[in-house]
């Protein structure tokens, strides 16, 4: 391989995009440190890499635990003889689906712990070595949903919007120290994401959204037909790792960029209307009486 071998750590590498990327980068000749919470899964990954004679180490890392992060930093220092990382891929993340106003405070915070606060904690932990060397790269796996919001995905989208902004600020602020910050924005990908998200929908059966939930699974299956293989994302991450100067954002698959163009062009009322159709958020689906104009209604009462 022509590109220089780099030391790359990936969080959330036990499944989906993270696992695929770990193997892909190792096959390209990088020294990969795959991390995650499930030791069993990490061992399986390690065995698979060993079978291919890849340079891949595994380290246990829970991004929501300060102790776990500190232990992992020490382990990485040892593995790399004090060099630290060339590239950090913040990939760990998940989504809980549901009507935004019905998701409890606890469920909402759980997503922020991993997707936002965890990402920042891991970044703070591995940054000092990069800054000492005046070289390094941070790759944050966001989502197409980091720049557009879907119904039922409000809380998940908000964590990814936050990651987009945090990455912008880090990109400005770390550049003088020779550290690049790039965002990967996957579209609909065939991973555990949907299964994880849909599994919790039953919890909202007793809310005013109950009647629309059944339809959601149908919609989810429809979306699955458009889903891409996670290898597409692994390749995008590899582009971001190998590029001499990383771009600010990598949309993958690339045609998903059309969504942003559409969003910019379509008037909000039409966009909203179609989003409500997608989410089955119509009076009919929700079993509501036809909407009465509230202002008119009050005016009649007042007169």
């Amino acid at each position: 391989m022509a590109t220089k071998s780099k030391i790359v750590l990936i969080t959330g590498a036990t499944a989906g995009i993270g696992r695929m990327s770990a193997l892909h980068l190792a096959r390209l000749g990088h020294h990969v440190i795959a991390t995650g919470r499930k030791v069993g899964e990490l061992q399986k990954l390690s065995a698979e890499a060993e079978g291919e004679r890849l340079k891949l180490d595994v380290v246990e890392l829970d991004v929501t635990s300060a102790d776990s992060i500190a232990t992992a930093v020490a382990a990485v220092d040892q593995l790399t003889s004090g060099h630290g990382l060339d590239v950090l891929v913040n990939n760990a993340g998940f989504g809980v689906l549901g009507p935004t106003s019905e998701i409890s405070d606890g469920e909402m915070r759980r997503q922020y712990e991993t997707n936002v606060f965890g990402l920042m904690s891991v970044t703070r932990a591995f940054l000092p070595r990069m800054r000492e060397r005046r070289a390094g790269r941070i790759i944050n796996v966001s989502s197409v949903g980091g720049r557009m919001t879907l119904p039922w995905f409000g809380v998940y989208n908000s964590t990814k919007y936050a990651v987009e902004s945090l990455s912008d600020a880090l990109r400005y602020e770390l550049k003088p120290f020779g550290i690049d910050v790039a965002l990967i924005e996957p579209g609909v990908i065939r991973t555990n994401f949907e299964a994880t998200a849909v599994a919790q929908l039953d919890a909202f059966a007793d809310t005013p959204y109950g009647p629309a939930l059944g339809n959601y699974e149908k919609m989810s299956k429809q979306a699955d037909r458009f889903a891409s293989n996670p290898i597409v994302i692994a390749r995008a991450i590899a582009r971001a790792v190998n590029a001499r100067r990383a771009a600010a954002r990598y949309v993958a698959p690339r045609f998903n960029r059309m969504i942003f163009v559409m969003q910019a062009m379509v008037p909000t009322r039409i966009w909203d209307w179609s989003m409500r159709r997608i989410g089955h958020l119509t009076p009919k689906h929700l079993g509501l009486a036809e909407r009465k104009e509230p202002a008119l209604l009050e005016a009649t009462k007042a007169s």
Partner: protein
């Protein structure tokens, strides 16, 4: 003056100062029943005196700390009584703040504190006052975000993170509450003359020993650059007043409106140019930071085709 719209019950969070206070007074003048809330009782009482001195309208105050579930529950019960079980017609989620500082140097607690008020607090208050609106199939939620909810500037990374989150959450709420007759609107103020700057600077001392020290030393100069363009909080209050009068409000209002130009500028400017410009603005250049440019031990990358291309250029 247009004819005052039908009197609405309006609850405003963070109304002891700045945009919240100006909005409370403005909406009361327009004939609404305002419930001004905040954490400081003496400031709320002063606000009520000022409002009542101006006219006979109904103006109530209630203690409300958006980060405290007990305080939210208590305020919700109080307002249930105040409105005779009606609840509020309009909820204005205005409470919010930001701490300035280089994001990677800001500690976990400082980042979280901003999300507590700006994101988790906003959602907790929304959940508390929404059920009455959904039952009546009528209501309006106005979330005070920022132009910084769609554009990021250096040294405010965490604050921008919270506001980007509010933008997404508001989008989803807008889709999901429309069938129940509840509108969701985002207000995006630009630089406004408020306490925002003072609060932002309270933790800046923590970075005096960081690699950003030379840029931090010029924080006041950077701040002045922004604040000389600042509008009075009444300008935002007027926009909110118009939003309340609208039968079908838009999804977003930049306030004052000309601040919307920054979104256009952001969209048409190539990222590398935009980044270069904001780094200059934040004094994030190697010269300002006293950073030695050359990376020490990094071996020269040797992709053969790229090198050929370079040498061809040199020959031409």
């Amino acid at each position: 003056m247009s004819t005052p719209s039908i009197q609405k019950v309006v609850l405003i969070t963070g109304s002891t100062a700045g945009i919240g206070r100006a909005t409370a007074l403005h909406l009361a003048r327009l004939g609404n029943h305002v419930i001004a809330t905040g954490r400081k009782l003496d400031l709320l009482e002063a606000l009520r005196r000022e409002a009542l001195a101006e006219g006979p309208g109904r103006f109530d105050i209630a203690l409300l700390d958006v980060t405290n579930p007990a305080s939210i529950a208590h305020a919700a019960a109080e307002i249930e009584t105040l409105t005779g079980g009606h609840g509020v017609d309009v909820l204005i989620n205005n409470a919010g703040f930001g701490y300035a500082g280089p994001l990677a140097e800001q500690d976990d607690a400082a980042v979280r504190a901003q999300f507590e008020t700006n994101v988790f607090g906003l959602m907790a208050v929304t959940r508390a006052f929404l059920p009455a609106m959904m039952r009546r199939r009528a209501g309006r939620i106005v979330n005070v975000s920022s132009i910084g909810g769609r554009v990021t500037f250096p040294f405010f990374g965490a604050y921008h993170g919270t506001k980007y989150a509010v933008e997404a959450m508001s989008d989803a709420l807008r889709y999901e509450l429309q069938p129940f007759g509840v509108d969701v609107v985002v207000i995006e103020p630009g630089p406004i003359k408020t306490n925002f700057g003072d609060t932002a600077m309270t933790k800046i001392g923590a970075f005096a020993g960081s690699p950003y020290a030379p840029a931090i030393a010029q924080a006041d100069a950077i701040r002045q650059q922004f604040e000389k363009r600042a509008a009075p909080p009444e300008a935002v209050a007027k926009v909110i007043g118009r939003v309340l009068a609208q039968r079908r409000p838009s999804a977003r209002y930049a306030a004052p409106f000309y601040n919307g130009a920054i979104f256009l500028l952001n969209r048409v400017t190539p990222t590398f140019v935009w980044d270069w410009a904001v780094r200059r603005l934040g004094r994030l250049t190697p010269e300002h930071l006293g950073v030695t440019a050359a990376p020490p031990a990094a071996p020269v990358p040797t992709p053969a085709p790229a090198q050929r291309a370079t040498s061809t250029h040199a020959v031409n």
